[in-house]
């Protein structure tokens, strides 16, 4: 891999806020997220239920539910263009061709009454800029199916004839159809069994190496991050509270207390510990987030200063941690 010179960010998210206006109040799902992703790079977005991972992904794709989802501020810059300002038609052409998405639940992600070949073909037809013939496109469908490990002969079959793992392969084939620059994978293996998960992860990794696509990997499983990601963003209550290379986050010395808690809560396969170390308390209510650092009510190191105002932003190169613990070490 030649990283020199290609350190060009292909997607940059700056100060992104996303809210949902619901009957129960305004849900603040994403609260000021900054990060960028370079070519050929995989960034892992890690967090528990309600951390805002999926909302962030849907914001980038501009696929938020129309009536409730709003992006009051922020920028999403792709190829020098702010996607939040782009018109609908421009955005439609970006989707699928430049940025595509793999969804969590392969059981429902495919149209049940359309053959899988047609569903892959659809993607190609939509973005057929070079006006390739139907025959060429069909050949490409065969190629894509073989690429994800399904025999091309099965393209006339319907989704219900495939197992969960196979369906996810088809979803991946759809995502890859137009050689996108960036793939957002939202918990792509959560619904699958471990051995099938390993197959799918290997496939994703393999294809990414081969095709040089960048990827945002959304997951709650730190193990998957360790297997696939170059950089990691830990999300809590709609914020990235820690960002860095996989090396920083897994093996570095300084961590956000939440990151420490997250690692501590996982039962280890390698060492013997009688008791686990859970994080006290619960995720905050997204309609009434706490003041100050959003983690302070659960944090073992909480001080008075954490309860008001933004926490300190500790930076080291590209990596950063949002926590007052590191204030004095400037």
């Amino acid at each position: 891999m030649n990283n020199t010179g290609t350190e060009q960010a292909i997607l940059e998210v700056r100060g992104l806020h996303t809210i949902y206006q619901t009957d129960d109040g305004v849900v603040k799902a994403v609260n000021g997220v900054d990060f960028s992703i370079n070519e050929r790079e995989t960034v892992g977005l890690v967090g528990e239920t309600g951390a805002g991972k999926t909302t962030l992904a849907l914001s980038i794709m501009r696929l938020l539910p129309e009536r409730t989802g709003r992006i009051p501020e922020g920028e999403i810059i792709y190829k020098g263009e702010n996607l939040l300002k782009a018109d609908k038609e421009y955005m439609r052409r970006i989707r699928g061709a430049n940025i595509s998405m793999i969804f969590q639940d392969p059981m429902n992600a495919l149209n049940p009454i359309m053959s899988v070949g047609d569903q892959i073909l659809e993607s190609l037809v939509i973005h057929n800029e070079e006006k390739r013939s139907g025959e060429e496109l069909n050949k490409r469908v065969d190629e894509l199916l073989e690429l994800v490990g399904i025999s091309a002969g099965r393209k006339h079959e319907y989704p219900h004839q495939f197992s969960g793992g196979m369906k996810q392969r088809i979803v991946i084939a759809i995502a890859l159809a137009c050689n996108p620059k960036l793939i957002i994978a939202d918990e792509p293996t959560t619904a699958l069994d471990v051995t099938i998960q390993a197959q799918v992860l290997a496939l994703i990794n393999d294809l990414q190496q081969k095709l040089g696509t960048s990827m945002i990997m959304i997951t709650h499983d730190l193990g998957i991050v360790g297997k696939t990601c170059d950089k990691v963003a830990i999300m809590y209550a709609g914020e990235i509270i820690e960002f860095g290379t996989a090396e920083d986050v897994f093996n570095g010395e300084k961590h956000h207390p939440y990151t420490v808690g997250l690692f501590g809560a996982i039962p280890s396969l390698t060492s013997e510990a009688k008791r686990l170390k859970p994080i006290d308390g619960l995720m905050p209510d997204p309609t009434a987030l706490p003041e100050g650092c959003k983690f302070h009510p659960r944090c073992p190191h909480c001080t008075e200063e954490c309860k008001t105002g933004e926490p300190y932003l500790y930076q080291k190169g590209e990596a950063y941690i949002k926590c007052n613990l590191f204030r004095e070490e400037k």
């Binding site: 794709m61 696929l63 970006i94 699928g96 359309m114 993607s123 759809i174």
Partner: protein
């Protein structure tokens, strides 16, 4: 697939037998007998009794049931007690009117109902949606015979555009079609809208959006076909309701169809007429439901596969 169709066809036989049994059984409770009806109230009781005996009216119910089925299979539904005419030929003469009414209303009702249903789901919360759902609610709540009478008041008596009774040409059918179609519009519009709203929220619609598909093609290519699956079933059921509703619509517009035949039969206590006509309408409905089921299996590959495996 062919096995499934055969299985469904075989299921139709006990269904029709049961339907005929229920209708015959109920009609058997009617305080009426052929002797009295043919000879009149003033006839000698002995003569009436003799005629009843001759016509087989005094046989046990089971015997009459088996005889009815046996004759019906050969196309003979008995004779009217009132006029002595063959019930089969009366039905054959009147069925075209009912069929024209029913099929016309089916087309009218389903086209408008499904179309408005789709539009109001796609443009949920718009003025069109509000208008359509209100229309559906109203059409479902007001009795169709009343709507028919209102239409007569406006278009026949008020404006004088259309005839109010009889079965002559197309013009005679326009108001009846609209009247009988109202109920279908109501149920189909609501069903299509609900089903469409549910489908639009499915994950695979999001997948299509993520592919960059246009909104219009997402609706026509993905959502519509899936959303119409449950609508097909409702179409069958509401067609059945409408078929029975032709009884009132034919009464309002004095259309000489099978429905009116049933009403006249009931008034005259003419058991064979009512039985024959009811069994024919119920049989039509049963066959239609079968057709819907098979159609369903053809559109939905999942159901097709379930039966292909067996």
């Amino acid at each position: 697939m062919s096995r499934y169709i055969i299985k469904r066809l075989l299921f139709i036989i006990p269904t029709l037998l049961l339907v005929a049994f229920i209708v015959l059984f109920i009609m058997d409770l009617t305080p009426s007998d052929p002797g009295t009806l043919i000879l009149g109230d003033n006839a000698q009781p002995e003569a009436i009794e003799a005629l009843n005996e001759e016509l087989g009216y005094n046989d046990p119910f089971v015997v009459r049931y088996v005889r009815f089925i046996w004759n019906a299979v050969r196309g003979d539904l008995g004779e009217s007690w009132q006029t002595g005419r063959s019930v089969t030929s009366t039905i054959a003469q009147r069925l075209p009117v009912t069929a024209t009414l029913a099929l016309g209303s089916l087309v009218f009702g389903s086209v408008i109902g499904i179309l408005l249903g789709i539009l109001s789901a796609v443009k949920q919360y718009s003025i069109l949606d509000f208008f359509s759902t209100t229309l559906a609610m109203a059409l479902g709540a007001f009795p169709s015979f009343w709507i028919g009478m209102m239409l007569i008041l406006i278009f026949s008596l008020g404006l004088g555009w259309l005839p109010s009774f009889g079965a002559g040409g197309i013009k005679n059918f326009i108001l009846p079609w609209a009247t009988a179609g109202c109920f279908m519009i109501s149920s189909l519009l609501r069903m299509t809208r609900t089903s469409m709203l549910e489908t639009i929220r499915m994950d695979y619609i999001r997948t299509a959006r993520a592919k960059g598909q246009t909104e219009r093609k997402i609706i026509t290519g993905h959502a519509l076909r899936n959303a119409l699956l449950p609508v097909v079933t409702v179409l069958g059921v509401s067609f059945g309701t409408m078929l029975a509703g032709t009884v009132t619509v034919e009464t309002v517009f004095s259309l000489p169809g099978v429905g009116l035949m049933i009403i006249e039969g009931i008034r005259m206590k003419d058991v064979p007429v009512v039985t024959g006509a009811t069994v024919v309408l119920a049989a039509m409905f049963t066959v239609l439901m079968l057709f819907v089921d098979i159609l369903y299996a053809f559109i939905d590959p999942r159901i097709k596969a379930r039966y292909a495996k067996k």
